[in-house]
């Protein structure tokens, strides 16, 4: 039950949009047209001036603060930085992370035998990144999860690993953001 009822000023809205909403339509079309012509002349002059990006052939460069899909950091030796401590699994509010820990002979002792993220469920909140004591899981600039089945949007460790040298900006950013030294 709603505890508060919001009264909509219908008369005011009608006045602003005009009869048959012609005023609002004209306003919208004006914006469309402005961008169309600016685009057209820019293209004719050989230097496009507007923000339209030919996705998916082109992609925008996202700022380091951008929170895309969480990915795993891959070290120079090809292994994951993750030690399967389970803190991200615990922190995840939608329970989309599944980790099976196992023992390795390396000095770090533990590694995730299985590391699955259900991208269909992930809500890009970044709590896993904040919880991670090893800077092993970070939010990337990836956003595309489209696939033809639900199995395909369950991402496994192999899909999630990204070499550390492709993530320096985000790593610097989280060190700054979470006050780590």
């Amino acid at each position: 039950m709603a505890s508060r009822v919001v009264k909509v000023d219908r008369a005011g809205v009608q006045k602003a949009t005009g009869p048959l909403a012609i005023r609002a339509l004209a306003k919208g079309l004006a914006v469309t047209n402005r961008h169309f012509f600016r685009n057209l002349f820019g293209w004719l002059r050989g230097k496009p001036t507007v923000a339209t990006v030919m996705f998916p052939e082109e992609d925008v460069k996202k700022p380091p603060a951008f929170r895309g899909m969480p990915v795993l950091v891959q070290m120079e030796n090809g292994k994951e930085r993750c030690v399967a401590c389970g803190l991200c699994e615990w922190a995840c509010p939608v329970d989309c992370i599944l980790i099976e820990p196992a023992e390795t002979d390396d000095a770090i002792e533990r590694y995730p035998k299985v590391f699955d993220i259900d991208m269909g469920r992930c809500m890009y909140c970044g709590l896993c990144e904040e919880a991670c004591p090893e800077e092993a899981i970070v939010m990337s600039d990836r956003v595309e999860i489209s696939a033809f089945s639900r199995e395909a949007i369950l991402w496994h460790k192999e899909n999630l690993l990204i070499p550390v040298d492709r993530l320096p900006q985000r790593l610097d950013y989280i060190r700054l953001g979470y006050g780590r030294r």
Binding site: V83, G86, W90, P101, E109, P133
Partner: protein, 555 residues
């Protein structure tokens, strides 16, 4: 917590943090505080070990005492006024924490203790946030197999010496010691004597940090994901109180639970590691009647489910009674069943009308501490409720002899592994060759379930509610921790159903643990005050004096 005596024999009054507490003279200040719910941080003190006083974490301010005193080694005296919260105490704790953490590796992400670590807890509660030292931390052994079941991490050790005192005072084997002096002291063993005794993993329990770890649980699961269920160890007649660490319907570990009347805070390694049978590949998950299972029919016969298998059992028993008399049916019970199930097994025996029912209990090593000879949790309870030969009934060995002689036509065995272990696999199978129908009800596969004509899946102790009676007559509660295999009936349900079908072919009543225990309480004077919910966490001592026997209607 421990059961405190309600009335101290020699009472003294102490005031801790403004609270007036009546305590027993001579008890230590730390114990009195803990018993009264006042938290004083401590590492080296353990209620079941001697006092060491080495960690200095439990320092408190006592009025008219010039310096701070360690509460673990200070007996309470009358009129003592104690402050556990003053700024002086907080500063001392901060200092102790800082010194303990100077060489601690802080590898909590890969440490199994993380989540139940005293060093973590007290560091958050009483320590400072950041280290002030920049010198490199001391290096030590990592993942060192100090014994066959214990892993040692030297860097994490804070030298509280709990484990050393444990091996000296409880296991009385003395493998561990502090070697070296000063900054270089560390826990170690003699070169040819690893930490290998019947209770060695208890050192991992009492280790306040992650220095000693159970090899079985090593890197297996984070403790904060475990759902802990209070139960009783099924390994022997002692009935040590345990907690089952459950995760995704699997037992991850067993840890002892404090019960001063049974096991203090300890348990043996065998019991601790004896849980894999509940979830390994030998589990019997589906019934089988003459090769027909729920997945697979057999020519003319359709596939069966558990209820149909139980009905088939009753039909065979009925057939044997009709052609050969009730004496041609024999039952062998198991000491792994709960009291309630045993009671229903006796009910099944009465429904059949045969006197031949016996209990088979495997025997094994024993010591003068916790390990008892009878290697099943509920031998005493089973005998109490009547799982033993009736008037004119045969004992297990005689039942087998009668089987070999062809007198027994239907043999119903619950818990097949025990029978094979006690009477020998070969001789049991030879005796069974003459039996028309062998019914085996067990949780795990064995040579007997392979031979049996009808196999019913049994449940392990982790999958059912009920009560066990230990060797000393203490009735203790076990709780369901796991979801049983799909479609499986509890053992009690099987007995109730078979009994009803055998008796008059009617649809049976359901098996109810509470109602069954209430029935036991009405029938047996020793169980007079026992109710399932009355057992609590620590169980009830059985009545030794016989009260007035209440005769129930209908026997």
């Amino acid at each position: 917590m421990s059961e405190r005596s309600v009335q101290p024999k020699n009472p003294v009054k102490v005031i801790i943090d403004g609270r007036e507490i009546v305590a027993e003279a001579g008890h230590t200040l730390l114990q009195v505080a803990l018993d009264n719910g006042i938290e004083i941080p401590h590492y080296c003190y353990h209620p079941k070990l001697s006092i060491d006083g080495s960690c200095r974490m439990c320092q408190v301010k006592i009025q008219r005492v010039p310096k701070l005193a360690i509460s673990c080694n200070t007996p309470v005296t009358d009129g003592m006024v104690v402050d556990t919260q003053s700024a002086e105490v907080a500063e001392a704790r901060r200092g102790v924490m800082e010194l303990l953490l100077i060489n601690h590796p802080l590898d909590c992400p890969i440490c199994d203790k993380a989540g139940e670590c005293y060093l973590q807890d007290y560091s958050f509660g009483y320590g400072r946030q950041h280290a002030r030292t920049t010198s490199p931390r001391r290096k030590g052994l990592k993942r060192h197999p100090i014994g066959p079941r214990v892993v040692f991490d030297e860097e994490r050790c804070i030298l509280c010496r709990r484990c050393v005192r444990f091996t000296q005072e409880i296991s009385k084997t003395g493998e561990l010691g502090v070697l070296g002096i000063g900054d270089r002291s560390h826990i170690g063993t003699a070169p040819d004597r690893p930490l290998d005794n019947a209770y060695s993993v208890c050192t991992a329990d009492i280790c306040p940090v992650g220095a000693l770890l159970s090899a079985d649980f090593h890197h297996k699961r984070r403790v904060w994901f475990l759902e802990e269920v209070e139960s009783v160890c099924p390994g022997c007649a002692n009935g040590c109180n345990v907690k089952l660490g459950m995760f995704r319907n699997e037992i991850q570990r067993l840890v002892p639970r404090r019960n001063d009347a049974v096991n203090d805070t300890w348990m043996c390694d065998h019991g601790r590691l004896n849980y894999h049978f509940a979830q390994d590949e030998t589990r019997v998950r589906v019934p089988r009647v003459d090769g027909v299972t729920p997945e697979r029919g057999n020519g003319s016969r359709p596939a069966i489910d558990a209820a149909a298998a139980v009905e088939e059992v009753a039909r065979r028993i009925r057939g044997a009674i009709d052609t050969h008399g009730a004496g041609a049916v024999a039952l062998i019970g198991s000491a792994h069943l709960t009291n309630e199930e045993c009671y229903r097994l006796v009910g099944l025996r009465d429904a059949i009308g045969t006197p031949h029912l016996d209990l088979v209990v495997p025997l094994g090593d024993t010591d003068d501490f916790l390990i008892k000879a009878e290697k099943a949790a509920n031998a005493r309870g089973a005998r109490d409720v009547g799982v033993q030969p009736g008037a004119g009934g045969k004992a297990a060995a005689d039942i087998l002899a009668a089987c070999a002689a062809g007198e027994i036509k239907v043999l119903y065995v619950v818990g097949s592994a025990d029978l094979l272990a006690v009477h020998g696999e070969e001789s049991v199978l030879r005796a069974l060759a003459e039996v028309e129908t062998v019914i085996a009800q067990d949780a795990n596969r064995s040579a007997l379930t392979d031979r049996a004509d009808i196999v019913l899946p049994g449940l392990t102790w982790a999958e059912k509610d009920g009560s066990f009676t230990n060797h000393a007559g203490r009735v203790q509660r076990i709780r369901q921790a796991m979801t049983p295999p799909e479609g499986a009936l509890t053992d009690g349900e099987v007995f109730v159903r078979v009994a009803a079908w055998v008796q008059d072919g009617t649809a049976p009543a359901a098996f109810d643990v509470r109602a069954t225990l209430a029935e036991i309480a009405m029938t047996l004077p020793a169980y007079r005050d026992v109710t399932l919910d009355g057992l609590g966490s620590h169980g009830l001592e059985q009545r030794t004096t016989t009260g007035p026997q209440i005769v129930t209607p209908g026997g």
